[in-house]
Amino acid sequence: MQGVARSFEHTQTAHCESGATSNLLRHAGVSVTEAMAFGIGSGLFFVHCPWVRLMGLPLTSYRSFPGTIFKKTCKRLGVSYRYRSFRDSLKGRRALDELVASGRAVGVRTNIFWLPYIPERFRFQFNGHNIVVCGRTPEDDYVVSDPIMEQTTTCPGRSMNRARFAAGTLAPRGLIFFPEPTAGVRPEFEPAIRAGIRETVGRMLNVPLPFFGVRGIRYMSRRIARWPKKLADPSQLSLNLANVVRMQEEIGTGGGGFRYLYAAFLQESADLTETPLLAEAACRLTDSGNLWRDFATLAVKHAKGRADTPYGQIPALLLDIARLEEEIFTDLRRRYL
């Protein structure tokens, strides 16, 4: 077997980008948990924008823009990295093959639809799935450490090429990313944690547009309240509600739209930096994650026509979540930043 597949330590994680970042950095000699990568990389966010459509439905996202977790985590820990996309798919293929042959573990952005080892019902046309390629088999398949899978797996070259060069929204364009060797790097976690939290707090509280952060949660509440009237077709209402829940749970968020994962980061940071107020914030954010799970349950029950509560509870619960998250992040700003 070619490459570093034998020495690459695969760890299953909740989310692909934070998992790939954590696994790649650990392989390069900097030990960072997935939670720490997610937090330092300012992964937590919220967006609901009906005017940007993904698969025909209003864009809803619970995290930051793809690619930013890896880059920011590396930058904030003082680790150099390579982050490169390709216009020419042949060049992109060769670049990956050369890196793997030279013993690198390489982060790769893919369209999950074309990865044959993914369970069939998870294979949607979605261009933001991050994996790590760490070797080639004697049959020339790629050895893949996919962070959301339990173990490493293999992927035929033809499938990998389709997945890497698929078109569409956020097309991966053969993107590869990896940290440079970290010998001599002394990561300073406290400033990295502070920078990560500062950015997340700013983005959740301060973006002067209605679609983002806490304002975005309230905005989505108002939109959802109007959906039964606005979307004349009940099946469209079901689709819209289901899509929000899918972005919250299915795509690999650790539960509660990344809120539990971010709480794990805050808790780990509290221990590392001996800052008890971060542990308090972790507790409260777990409560928010629980409310998001309640929201998901209500929304899906209505989407399936099995609701036993009034529809109005769904937007009302979102307002509760918005209020709680506003308190959490305002408190962090006041007492920590």
Binding site: F113, E120, F122, Q125, E150, A167, L239, G255, A296
Partner: protein
């Protein structure tokens, strides 16, 4: 969410595997915990697949009635619309719209058929043959 509250619903879509989520253990620590699935997530996903399934069945009926080309079905089966298919092929969307017309598609050259078949990862013979289009497996799931 506490560790003991993490759903273990053995969701069919997980195909016997498990995902990771984060939950609070007995000592108050937030830890990685495996989950075999949550029915809420499963239902949300099933709504998406039911929609795809019923769209595919509608297109299949149109194909069998001669009102749509097999290309329309295979394109939708790969979760593409004309625009995405065109982007994947590196051609103008108008061209795909033109080729989608049943009469035009029936007269399409072998070269074009091969391009579409390769892009959609289906055998060329299937692309030509309306009888090769199966009924949707996903209709009515969940």
């Amino acid at each position: 969410m506490k560790v003991e509250e993490v759903p273990q619903d053995r969701a069919p879509s997980y195909e016997g595997r498990s995902k990771v989520c984060y939950a609070v253990d007995a000592s108050g620590k937030i830890v990685k915990t495996p989950t075999s699935g949550w029915m809420v997530e499963e239902w949300a996903m099933s709504i998406a697949w039911e929609t795809i399934g019923s769209t595919l069945d509608r297109i299949r009926a149109d194909v069998l009635a001669g009102a749509a080309s097999p290309l329309a079905w295979f394109m939708t089966m790969r979760q593409m619309d004309a625009r995405l298919l065109a982007q994947n092929l590196g051609i103008f969307t108008m061209r795909v719209w033109w080729h989608l017309r049943p009469g035009v598609f029936a007269r399409l050259s072998q070269a074009w058929l091969s391009r579409y078949a390769d892009c959609l990862d289906v055998p060329v013979a299937s692309l030509r043959d309306p009888a090769a289009i199966p009924e949707s497996r996903h209709a009515g799931c969940g």
